[in-house]
Amino acid sequence: MADLMQFVLTGITVGLVYSLIALGFTFIWKSSSVANLALGQMVLLFSWIAYGTMHQAGMPFWLGLPVTIAAAATMGWILERVVLRPLIGQPILSLITVTLGVAFIFEGLVSMFWPISTAAMPKFIPDEPVQIFGAVVSQEYLWAAGIALVLFVLVSIFFRYHKMGVAMRATADDQMAVWACGIPVTKIFSVSWMFAGALAAIGGVLMSSIGGITHGLVETGLKSFSVVILGGLDSFLGAMVAGPIIGLAENLGGGYLTQYTWPGIKDVIPFIIIIIVLFIKPYGLFGQVRIERI
């Protein structure tokens, strides 16, 4: 029972960390229908920027984090303005491919400016373990999970009630129609990429507080793709639910099946679950089902 509690607690908290990164992906998809393949590299780059502000420039956390988020938002704006805007109206595949190119550019920037390639994030989250129902979890995970939940609530409210959020949803649905209504699509795109940058920065800072700033952040970003595919590309709720599902699948599967199968089974189980779910619900657990009438 104690083991089960530990697996569940670890699964949920680690899963919510995946959700945190996945929110940034969903945000872009929901506002522009672009699959941002540079997500992992954004997380990595903005983590290094956080390191640059807080460690190398010696800023305190209360100043370093806002500066990092502002830098990430600016980077998001530049990315949209310089790279993506010329492609408005082009096939969506072109936009997606460009994000792949951006991923390589970001990795290059990291290598150029931070050749040390690995570093520990300055400590600003206490790592004293917390006891919950006989299980234990590091505070770093709890902070990440808690902030993921707060961000989920904020972005959900934003998309549902804020004028800009509604405009973003409309833009993702039909750019031309939105343009015809006088809504500045270019501005919508800029703002959505700025938000996505900010989300990636927050996610990166929290993730690197747990495991350091390493290339592994890119893979964590990739792992978040499996979260959004399971939850539904356009659903914040899906991202928040699918993260813990994948975390639980990894941890319960790893905890109970390894002895009967092979070491490393935990990395396979989530994908088996994704395949099964997609057979039944091709748009993911909470994805919007698109029906085209012909």
């Binding site: 104690a2 790893g254 905890g255 070491p263 935990k266």
Partner: protein
């Protein structure tokens, strides 16, 4: 029309500038000392291929290692006048810790007719060694696993392999740490590539003889962010010692997870356990990532001296790291790679001295036969154990030391311990 005129004028001006500039540019090409002296004999350069994981998942090790090996060769070329007057010409490539890139690079090395090549990671030597062996191109890897050198072909290991690391740690543990009765229980936490499997090979072969019971084997990826589940399962088997054979980042995650589980007041796990590390992860970087408090008391093996040790090569290496790569001061991987550069030079020197006809007849085959296989008691400026070739045993250096993390620093616990040859029976 106007713009067309402008374009024409611009083209003409550009053409004139190029024609005028060419002689000037040509004059600038050269050694900076005017025309070369035709009577001076320029000795042929010795071409060597070096690949390292400068980017990608293992960049944290590859970056300092790339710096270390290139700095060492720079030192040989510039301060020692090369190898017996021959400049070492390096063809260096980043394999990004990806097998596909590594195989492309080895084929490039072969097509460029390098005399020998090196890699720095066992995971990168594993996919390329068959190609090199078929081509008869000799090479060595800095970090190695048993599958690379057994059966012995054209590939060598600069230092003891991950199997040796496990064996030395296990023996040290039995003789100096274990105070219980009966067999101690050991759990293995392994990176899912040769870094991990090398340690497992040795444990499979030797654990029973050493009187150790292996109670759990778990694998992890190089990008893991949590291993609590694996550790919870391991804890249920009451191990006395956990041995981690991995790279620094995952090792730091595991150590932090262990400390978290130990802090569970309601249900403490893994209390009093000994943590041991293989040499791929036992670096200052691992301590920085895990936090000095968490890493304190962790044991590990490593095949080189530490920074500041009183050995012949320390001063020059320190001078170079301070001058060119101060970020890697105190990084143990820089030492391994500096030694790699010195060893490349020594192999080439030995080959020139022993090959009939000398440097003019150097071929990959001769570099192996008259260079690598004639190495005898080369001390690598004291930076790691002496290098000897023993027929059938392709590990060049065989010595390691056991260290412990104390106060955030890596402190040696033993003198050099020789890793005995383990016949794994690979075919």
């Amino acid at each position: 029309m106007i713009s067309k005129n402008w374009l024409s004028k611009l083209s003409v001006i550009s053409l004139i500038l190029i024609l005028v500039g060419l002689p000037v540019l040509a004059a600038g090409c050269g050694d900076g000392n005017g025309d070369p002296d035709p009577t001076e004999t320029v000795k042929q350069p010795l071409k060597v291929g070096i690949m390292y994981p400068q980017t990608g998942a293992a960049a944290s090790k590859g970056q300092p290692m790339a710096a270390g090996v290139l700095d060492a060769i720079k030192y040989v070329n510039e301060e020692l006048d090369g190898v017996l007057g021959h400049e070492i010409q390096v063809v260096s490539r980043d394999n990004a810790y990806e097998s596909s890139r590594a195989t492309t690079i080895i084929n490039e090395f072969i097509s460029q007719n390098v005399l020998m090549f090196t890699t720095q990671a066992s995971a990168m030597m594993t996919p390329v060694m068959n190609i090199a062996n078929e081509a008869g191109l000799p090479g060595f890897t800095v970090f190695s696993s048993p599958n690379i050198t057994q059966p012995a072909q054209h590939i060598y290991a600069q230092m003891p392999d991950y199997g040796d690391g496990w064996a030395i740690f296990a023996k040290y543990y039995m003789e100096n740490v274990w105070q219980g009765t009966g067999k101690p229980k050991m759990a293995l936490m392994l990176l899912n590539n040769p870094t991990g499997s090398g340690a497992k090979d040795a444990a499979d072969k030797l654990a029973a003889d050493l009187g150790i019971e292996i109670v759990d084997i778990s694998t992890h990826t190089g990008t893991t962010s949590d291993e609590t589940t694996a550790l919870t399962t391991i804890a249920s088997k009451n191990p006395d010692v956990i041995f981690i054979s991995s790279t620094p980042a995952p090792t730091s995650v595991i150590i932090k997870n262990i400390r978290t589980l130990q802090a569970n007041q309601a249900n403490p796990r893994l209390t009093g356990i000994t943590i041991g590390c293989g040499h791929a992860s036992f670096t200052s970087e691992m301590i920085a990532l895990a936090g000095a408090a968490n890493a304190n008391g962790v044991l590990g093996v490593f095949p080189t001296v530490s920074w500041g040790d009183n050995v012949a090569g320390m001063a020059k290496m320190t001078e170079y790291v301070n001058q060119y790569h101060p970020a890697y001061k105190d990084n143990m991987d820089y030492i391994t790679a500096w030694a790699e550069g010195l060893l490349i030079a020594k192999i080439l020197e030995t080959a020139i001295q022993n090959t009939p006809g000398g440097a003019a007849n150097l071929t990959p085959e001769n570099v192996e036969k008259y260079g690598i296989q004639m190495l005898s008691n080369y001390d690598v400026s004291g930076l790691h154990g002496p290098v000897n070739y023993t027929p059938g045993d392709n590990r060049l250096s065989k010595a390691m030391r056991v260290f412990e993390v104390a106060g955030g620093a890596i402190i040696p616990k033993t003198d050099w311990i020789n890793a005995v040859y383990i016949d794994y029976g690979f075919s």
